[in-house]
């Protein structure tokens, strides 16, 4: 199995946590993994992206070649489209529909949604609202991860185990909130 995943969002939206959870699931399955992150100046309110590669064969490049991503997983709708040149023609576009507007020239929402919906393999869900409904507004990123589980090549149990490993230190309540969000996203994407 090989999955090349672009994680996208705005600094502070929690994409690195998504990367950490998927990474943990990959490590537990004895797979190879490479995950390139953005640190430093570009973090401050800017667009952030992470290249996450998992494979059962050795991975060379830390960067995903353009046209080869199997999945763009975005916690923000416009940010999902920023990385289209990376997506392969059968790739999945999975995005949160709640925009993060910290600029004056943010495009029309409908224009953004229509572009996402034009992809045959897409999931567009309101992860912010879903997270609020289950009483865990801060777990929006786990809702989006839940929506992607089927395309990741892992079972939901494997991702749950990874969440337990990653959040275990922070206590049972945090683990439960994140798993609840994961399941809600999983259901929403069905």
């Amino acid at each position: 199995m090989k999955k090349d995943i672009i994680l996208a969002g705005v600094g502070g939206q929690g994409i690195l946590t998504i990367a950490t959870v998927i990474g943990q699931a990959a490590v537990s399955s004895k797979m190879y993994i490479k995950q390139a992150e953005v640190h430093g100046m570009s973090q401050r309110g800017g667009d952030v992206q992470s290249h996450l590669r998992i494979s059962d064969e050795e991975i060379f490049s830390d960067l995903i070649p353009m046209g080869e991503a199997d999945l763009i997983l975005s916690v923000e709708p416009m940010e999902a489209l920023r990385y289209l040149p990376y997506l392969n023609e059968n790739g999945w576009l999975i995005a949160n529909s709640t925009p993060f507007v910290n600029i004056t020239n943010y495009p029309e929402k409908e224009e953004v949604y229509n572009k996402i919906k034009a992809y045959k393999n897409h999931v567009l869900i309101d992860a912010d609202t879903i997270a609020k409904e289950i009483g865990s507004a801060r777990s929006m990123n786990m809702v989006i991860l839940g929506a992607a589980v089927k395309t990741l090549g892992f079972t939901i149990n494997q991702i749950e185990d990874a969440i337990k490993t990653i959040f275990g230190r922070k206590g049972e309540a945090i683990v439960e909130a994140n798993i609840k969000a994961l399941k809600a996203g999983f259901e929403a994407a069905k």
């Binding site: 705005v10 990474g23 943990q24 490590v27 190879y32 993994i33 490479k34 995950q35 390139a36 992150e37 953005v38 640190h39 430093g40 100046m41 570009s42 973090q43 401050r44 309110g45 800017g46 667009d47 290249h51 991975i59 060379f60 490049s61 830390d62 960067l63 995903i64 070649p65 353009m66 046209g67 080869e68 991503a69 416009m78 489209l81 920023r82 990385y83 289209l84 040149p85 990376y86 997506l87 392969n88 023609e89 790739g91 910290n102 600029i103 020239n105 943010y106 495009p107 029309e108 224009e111 953004v112 572009k115």
Partner: protein, 531 residues
């Protein structure tokens, strides 16, 4: 043994800890910061009390590391590429003194300037100093480079550079670790004059360092970090350095590739292998991250009619980071692209955080300067450099760490009034002190604004050596006590702050204004950890 997931920076730190290091010395700088941050949280490092606090700047860090090496212990200096400019004096001279305990200089370059003023290539510095350089291509090699680098350093009695780049420093992969080694015992150099660079000694040392290069080349020829993969199609050979090797292999694994490949991760260049590929192949493509360093060096190897391709002839982009697609194009291999980015996608330039104290400082400065068309604001390296961007448009220059005060000094003498220097608290202690002393000595007319957010903000909130002592230090440097003014950068204090700026601009002499309010990011982190 299960692999642990580590950033390239962290893998190097873990390797050094496991290889028995006794001290890390560095100043934060993207993308090198995570080396020491990792050590500060590492249980073994804490239990063994391996040195891991931040230094005032890269020069003090480098010298402290040389001191530890003098005493026979293993040590590492860490910095970003432009930090090596600050440390250049001890760095260049440490090649002359050489090392006693293993001495590694870890320098993280930032091609494409994600978070830097330039994209200089530190391999040039290693070559300049005539020391070996290891350029790992992946995280496991970062880990191994620490063990191997210390051995190499102790074998040749020389410092060894470990060159990293953003894409390796900040990329995570599984790393297999080894057992932790004992630290070296205190031991003085065999030659008591080894670290004595009086000219007479220096000449003798240089007479040894230059001929030593042949042995360093031989070490590169035999290095596990370099590899020759022969191929039957000699129309083209590839020299792939560091990360360049990954981008090559990413492409090569998909096709039937029959060209010879020389992977280089240790310098000086392995002469034998380079001569082989140059003499056997019609063309040689050099894939290297950063500047065309190897490509230029190849011109010094006897090559007959071998054509050299790379960043200089346009086969690869002359500037910026490489990626697998650049390499596919250079090799004439299939190059896929997804759909183009829609035109309506807007950029999100980095910005000062909501509630950032710098915003309120800049609002006061801009208001005061409205009345003086020849006033200029000389800024420095930090979050506050973002004050250049709209809606603030508050600063005019940014050169290097500490240059705000000294540039303002020069401009003031040339007639710029008011000349205002804006420098962060951590940057002030990094390299602002000497500039301020120059101003006091010359009785210059300028205002130095030390933006005190009580942290090294841009790199993610590290502490710094001079914390809590700004006023005392300014006073000690000779700034009049009445003209060291502390203000609170908050919207409700705006009128008061403007008045303080007006008064100090009117004062003919050196004034220091210290807007003091904690960085909102470190404050948030503190509150979170208290919960």
């Amino acid at each position: 043994m299960e692999k642990i997931l580590l950033l390239g920076d962290e893998a190097l730190a873990q390797g050094a800890i496991d290889a028995g290091i006794s001290g890390f010395y560095g100043y934060p700088g993207t993308p090198s910061t995570e080396i020491i941050e990792f050590v500060q949280k590492n249980k073994v490092a804490i239990d063994k009390d391996i040195h891991r606090t931040w230094a005032s700047n890269e020069k003090t860090a480098m010298e402290e590391a040389v001191g530890m090496s003098y005493a026979g212990k293993r040590t590492m200096a860490t910095m970003k590429h432009v930090g090596l400019n600050v440390a250049a004096d001890p760095f260049m001279n440490s090649a002359m003194t050489g090392a006693n305990g293993g001495l590694l200089v870890a320098v993280a370059d930032d091609p494409s300037m994600h978070s830097s003023q330039n994209e200089q290539d530190s391999r040039v510095f290693a070559n300049f100093a005539l020391i070996p350089c290891i350029e790992p291509s992946n995280q496991q090699e970062c880990y191994e480079a620490a063990f191997y680098g210390f051995e190499l350093s102790e074998k040749f009695k020389l410092p060894v550079m470990i060159r990293l780049e953003t894409r390796l420093s900040h990329s995570r992969a599984g790393v297999t670790t080894k057992a932790v080694q004992e630290e070296n015992k205190l031991s003085f150099p065999d030659d008591p004059n080894q670290f004595m660079l009086l000219p007479a000694f220096s000449r003798m040392k240089y007479d040894k360092l230059v001929p030593l290069q042949a042995q360093l080349e031989k070490a590169s020829e035999e290095s596990p970090f370099n590899k020759y993969i022969d191929g039957e199609d000699k129309t083209l050979g590839i020299i792939a350095c560091g990360l360049g090797y990954n981008y090559l292999m990413e492409n090569v694994r998909k096709v039937d590739f029959k060209h010879p490949i020389l992977k280089v991760s240790q310098y000086p260049l392995p002469r034998k292998q380079v001569e082989k590929i140059m003499s056997e192949c019609d063309q040689v493509l050099v894939i290297e991250e950063g500047m065309p360093v190897v490509e230029q060096q190849l011109k010094g190897f006897v090559s007959g009619n071998t054509k050299i391709k790379g960043r200089l002839d346009g086969s690869l982009p002359r500037v910026g980071e490489l990626n697998p697609n650049h390499v596919a194009k250079a090799l004439g291999l299939p190059n896929n692209f997804g759909e183009e980015k829609p035109a309506f996608i807007a950029n999100r330039p980095p910005a000062l955080c909501v509630g950032c104290p710098h915003i309120d400082s800049y609002k006061a400065i801009t208001e005061v300067l409205k009345a003086t068309p020849n006033g200029r604001v000389f800024s420095d390296i930090g979050c506050y450099t973002l004050g250049f961007l709209p809606p603030y448009n508050a600063i005019n220059t940014c050169l290097d760490m500490g240059a705000s005060i000294t540039m303002a000094k020069g401009a003031s003498k040339a007639g710029v009034y008011p000349a205002i220097a804006v420098i962060g608290d951590s940057t002030f202690f990094h390299s602002g002190l000497t500039g301020l002393m120059d101003c006091v000595y010359d009785k210059d007319n300028l205002v130095v604004v030390i933006l005190d957010n009580s942290t090294t903000g841009m790199t993610g909130g590290q502490d710094y050596t001079g914390f809590g002592r700004i006023e005392a230090v300014c006073k000690a440097l000779g700034v009049e006590e009445d003209h060291i003014r502390v203000i609170t950068p908050l919207p409700k204090q705006h009128e008061i702050n403007v008045k303080v700026f007006e008064e100090e601009i009117a004062y003919e002499g050196v004034s220091v204004i210290i807007p003091r309010r904690e960085c909102v990011q470190t404050l948030k982190k503190k509150l979170k950890s208290r919960r």
